[in-house]
């Protein structure tokens, strides 16, 4: 299917509406990647859903990334959205610092964001404000650390019967 929207058109339109909140725009592998300030993410996603030209009304994916070296911007929350009517995809990113990892939840716009945000919280500890039930979903409730952060190892720390010298860790 051919695409009715082009990357430049979409970038123009979003920048026209939200000019100063778009911190950077790139197009790696022909997919618009916009960095947005974290307190404006909710508004932008809501506008994208309601806008008549763009109709970007489907949340494909939501995830987090941990960059321990970037001070002040340790966590990136990446949203992949797409427009089924126009066959168009877009990626939005927001960075939050590790001391205060909070961002608004998208549950009131897309119901499907519920579990995706819980998973991101479970793995990284990012707090989504306004989420109805932000608890662990995949790991046990008694777990006291966030396993996907880079400082934690893959293996179980409490295991005593494996000798690391043989396993090359």
């Amino acid at each position: 299917m051919e695409r009715k929207l082009t990357n430049d058109l979409v970038i123009e339109r979003i920048k026209g509406q939200f000019g100063s909140d778009i911190l950077s725009v790139e197009t790696p592998y022909d997919l618009i990647t916009m960095e947005v300030s974290s307190n404006k993410m909710h508004e932008i996603v809501d506008w994208l859903k309601k806008d008549e030209t763009l109709k970007i009304a489907f949340l494909t994916n939501l995830g987090g990334v941990h960059y321990p070296e970037q001070k002040g911007r340790e966590f990136a929350i990446v949203y992949h959205l797409q427009s089924m009517m126009n066959n168009f995809r877009i990626r939005l990113k927001a960075y939050v610092p590790i001391e205060n990892p909070e961002i608004d939840s998208l549950v009131d716009i897309y119901v499907g964001a519920n579990w995706m945000e819980r998973e991101t919280y479970d793995f990284y500890g990012i707090i989504f404000k306004g989420h109805p039930n932000l608890t662990r979903i995949l790991n046990e409730d008694s777990m006291d650390y966030f396993p996907m952060r880079k400082e934690y190892r893959l293996e179980d720390e409490t295991r005593e019967d494996k000798d690391d010298t043989f396993f090359g860790r």
């Binding site: 046990e140 396993p147 190892r153 893959l154 293996e155 179980d156 720390e157």
Partner: protein, 185 residues
């Protein structure tokens, strides 16, 4: 398979004479009712062994019992995570004697390729296991080979094995209660 060696039967007029433990062993080995505790990919291979190509119905095992009280053999096929381990232990405790455990696949036997913070490295950390079937996933023929080894164990079970001190010591190691008496940890 189900044939019991040296099972001698003396037939008379309206009666049959044989050894009780041999007859019970024959009955048990040919009608093991499994409890398929299938979690992941090994479960699909187990389902394949239930199909018509690798039929387990010829061993008398087509009646899958999902109720622990009515099952003889607990087939654990698939990865067991730490979140699921208490449930596995509960299911094992609910099974009535005599019972056997078959661990199918690398994940159930030792954690498999998943040496991570969330996977239990082998179910023998929580319940006693009788036969291990390695593979990722094992072919249905391998699962049937494991089942036949279980049949060997069933045939030589005897009547009093469950009350022996050896068995009590084994369960004590896993903190499993026997006869309603809870083991103090």
């Amino acid at each position: 398979m189900g044939k019991i060696e040296d099972l001698e039967v003396f037939n008379g007029e309206g009666y049959q004479l044989s050894r009780l433990d041999k007859v019970i062993a024959a009955a048990r080995a040919n009608s093991v009712w499994p409890l398929p505790f299938a979690t992941s990919c090994c479960g699909i291979e187990y389902m394949g062994s239930m199909g018509s190509n690798y039929d387990v119905a010829r061993f008398g095992m087509e009646r899958m019992s999902f109720s622990p009280r009515q099952a003889d053999l607990l087939i654990v096929a698939g990865t067991i995570s730490k979140k699921l381990a208490p449930i596995l232990k509960q299911v094992y405790e609910q099974m009535s004697e005599p019972k056997w455990v078959l661990s199918v696949g690398a994940c159930a036997s030792s954690g498999g390729i998943f040496d991570t913070y969330s996977v239990l490295q082998g179910i023998d950390r929580v319940i006693p296991v009788d036969v291990y079937v390695p593979g990722c996933p094992p072919r249905p023929e391998q699962i049937i080979d494991g089942i036949m080894k279980i049949h060997e164990l069933v045939k030589h079970e005897g009547m009093r094995n469950r009350y022996s001190d050896e068995y009590k010591a084994k369960l004590h190691k896993y903190n499993i209660e026997i006869d309603g008496k809870k083991i103090d940890k």
